[in-house]
Symmetry: C3
């Protein structure tokens, strides 16, 4: 099946899938708004008494370990075991503290993660490579990003999206490179988390093709970033325009704007 | 007493009432900023060790059950029992999980709620009607919104605001319909929650007339939405402009802009 | 050493210090984005299992007691004892409830706070003066702000920044007055918290001169506010433009724009 972000976006907007997110305090509003602007329906719920019920009716589940604490890990495990929908894991800050690294590994071990979406240092850490992370920012990782994505996908048994100036998405066999996006994305907190929420939304619309869906999500998010940058005067006006960009994504022209190589 | 959002807004800006909000993580910043832009003073506090003290000096208390967990329910009950000010309940996601439905019912049962502000599915769920909700989004509810508001107000013994393209506010006897607003409001997460915070702010300025205050709040919020939509290019620029709209609401012209029927 | 916000900003952008923030739910996204737009690296972490590890590698630690609860106080104490970096304390709502007042005093007592940054009522409360606070808004405090800053610095043994229309920063001996800023800053929730995050960022770049760094931070933040106000149509567009303002701060012209007196 070919990569067609436009077609999947059209499908997504028609189905309006529910995307259940257990995510960090910093970006909850942002990822909910990105999901809604794109055309899916976000829901945030983390209570042990309701995550299973919510996750079991969702079209995708997005787990994000920023601002982690113990009860949230329990909620992620409960939700992840209760759902048969695709699961996206965003290992925010893996490598920065043992607690985050171990939690990310535990979630990968106990749940059937469909797509791991992280920066190079986070993914490298989880693959046993050398990496440098400062807080939640990737400073460097051993090897090329394409190799990293492929090796991580093989080692972890899921699709892996390594995002950066160029994104690399792999299922352990194929590696897709996506060069859409804009440097202002790195100046706003939580754009990585948003790209995970967008990945979950695309997976909900195309659950049987996770490699393609993950790549299409990053194309769509990158194109929205390109549009947002047009009139931005800095991170604040860019951030507002990013939701406009997601909302105004045009399925008819999206495929032609993809900067994708395989 | 006639409905005069302009007069109540003038009163609100003069008194600057404290509006204590125990609300969800997704919209905390948003409802605080909406309250402040309108002219009231928001305060967010949920610790068991301080909610009573804070609620007892507030002009209104707004309880919102999105991203709920047990300790927050305890805090809502403590705060609600400690205050003599009007209480607004926003039953986010009632109907989506048993935990939310039961918590909303418990708060309605144990506290003297002044205004229940929700979407059609949430209110229908709490009134024992058939309803469909996907996450926190109302998909459908049995019967007309006007009937729903009236019946819910009678059954629950409080003012009920059912918001949607047209809002219906009832005390069980009168039903007021408000048609201000803009479709972009539905593209931003938390605008329902913001309308609950604005409702609390208006109640604090006009505590003895909750039906009128609740209707005036939705007129004011709707007019701010209309103004915000004027130059918006999508949900992000609309969201930023919404706070401008609340801040720039003109008490002198507000009554004339009300689209209200009874 | 002279006050040179431009020079310190240049240093900050070159070093990109990690600024660990344990802060309130309302402003987490906002302070992270302000830190990032300025040029430093924010990280939010509050779990007891990771705060020591994170704080020990940070260039500054910012503690903020809004939306406080017990586990967060424990995290602040652990982090504060684990770090040798400068600590900023933002006593949000001290004076509004006993819990906040006592927590602020406890943090001041058990940790080596480098800079206390608050509004007049919060600082007055912690210095034993009469003050009036409504929620988290300062209504009034006994005595002049300059005296308050000096006396508080002497009593508490740290640098004290009392922010308001004019900010006063003192080490108990010198008092620096900064008049940069714009009245729209008071219409957006969390701008005080952002100024604390900016203070932490400047301290990380100039740890050996906390008085100067604290004053320079408020100059820089105020100038960003002045720039943001230029095209703002209200609090929402101002808020977005504030991040643009921080991002676009020009080290070469910043010193000349400082409105500073000593």
């Amino acid at each position: 099946m070919a990569i067609s972000p436009g077609e999947t976006l059209r499908e997504l907007r028609e189905r309006k899938p529910l995307v259940h997110q257990i995510t960090n305090y910093v970006v909850m509003n942002e990822t909910a708004n990105a999901t809604l602007a794109l055309g899916a329906l976000p829901v945030m719920a983390h209570a042990l008494g309701e995550v299973e019920e919510m996750a079991s009716v969702a079209g995708a589940l997005v787990l994000n370990i920023g601002t982690l604490s113990e009860p949230w890990v329990d909620a992620m495990l409960l939700a992840g075991k209760a759902t048969s929908a695709p699961i996206v894991l965003d290992p925010v800050g893996a490598g920065a503290t043992r607690f985050r690294t171990e939690t990310a590994k535990r979630l990968l071990g106990e749940l059937t993660v469909t797509v791991l979406r992280g920066n190079a240092a986070e993914v490298a850490t989880l693959t046993g490579r050398q990496a440098e992370i400062r807080g939640v920012e990737s400073i460097g990782a051993e090897g090329s990003a394409a190799d990293l994505a492929r090796d991580a996908a093989r080692a972890l048994g899921c699709v892996v999206s390594v995002t950066g100036p160029t994104d690399h998405i792999s299922d352990g066999d194929r590696v897709i490179a996506v060069s859409n996006g804009h440097r202002l994305l790195a100046t706003v907190t939580g754009t990585g988390c948003m790209s995970s929420a967008v990945t979950g939304s695309f997976l909900a619309a195309k659950p049987d093709r996770p490699l393609e869906a993950a790549a299409e999500a990053l194309i769509a998010f990158g194109v929205a970033g390109e549009d947002a940058a047009r009139d931005a005067r800095g991170p604040g006006t860019f951030h507002a325009a990013l939701y406009d960009g997601l909302y105004n994504l045009d399925p008819a022209t999206l495929d032609a704007r993809a900067k994708v190589e395989e």
